[in-house]
């Protein structure tokens, strides 16, 4: 079984992630997921590819901590987080979060919380590769 928190270059299967999540318990009644995909269009420009770079020494422990926090905070049975690195093309999977709980509300709330926190707290940077050249996405510092 793959690790529940991963940074990886390869693509992954949602069905396999969900099966791994469900394996934790048959008391799981609600599973929420969020999948972030590469869009072919951003701020008025067409985007062919997106590149991701992480400070892995910090990014992976931070993702593990986020998962632990979510499990405690929302009373989840289990949760999984996968984020890709390297270059992905328009339509490709980038980030996947899955949360499982006995009932639907904590699963849905934890999923929302995890993607919001991930964007704030995990040292990963995105570069948009467009026909006019590459540019790193820099939110206001």
């Amino acid at each position: 079984m793959s690790e529940p928190v991963r940074l990886q270059f390869e693509d992954f299967s949602q069905d396999e992630e969900i099966s791994a999540l469900q394996a934790a318990s048959t008391r799981m009644g609600g599973i929420a997921t969020f999948l972030g995909c590469a869009r072919d269009f951003s701020q008025g420009r067409s985007v062919h590819e997106i590149g991701f770079e992480a400070y892995e020494r910090m990014a992976l422990p931070e993702l593990v901590k986020l998962r632990d926090e979510a499990i405690t905070r929302f009373g989840l049975i289990d949760a999984r987080i996968v984020h890709r690195l390297g270059t992905v093309r328009a339509g490709d999977r980038i980030v996947f979060i899955a949360t499982g709980a006995e009932h639907r509300a904590p699963a849905l709330e934890a999923c929302r919380w995890l993607i919001d926190e991930l964007k704030e707290r995990v040292p990963i940077w995105k570069k948009e590769i467009t026909p006019e050249g590459d540019s790193w996405v820099t939110p206001h510092p």
Binding site: E53, Y55, M58, I94, R121, V122, P123, V137, T138, P139
Partner: protein, 79 residues
């Protein structure tokens, strides 16, 4: 020696992902930052976070031990 790492937009503006800086006794994170920022203002204008040995550091007065790994980071854009 102190290893300083850069990623993404900061690495691009630094034109490198890694530099080595001589360790000086009593050196604080703030000292390292101001030395580098003076030399690379275009890179440091987007730096908003720092980490030492893999941990977020908010207090810029922390002393840096010899052999530390320091990262100056711009705001994250993953996900």
């Amino acid at each position: 020696m102190i290893t300083v790492l850069f990623f993404g937009p900061v690495a691009e503006r630094m034109e490198t992902g890694r530099i080595e800086v001589e360790h000086v006794a009593g050196m604080r994170l703030a000292d390292l930052r101001s030395t580098l920022a003076a030399r690379h203002p275009e890179a440091f204008e987007i730096v908003s976070l720092a980490a030492v040995n893999g941990e977020h550091v908010r207090n810029m007065d922390v002393p840096l031990g010899d052999g530390s790994e320091v990262v100056f980071m711009s705001k994250f854009s993953g996900g």
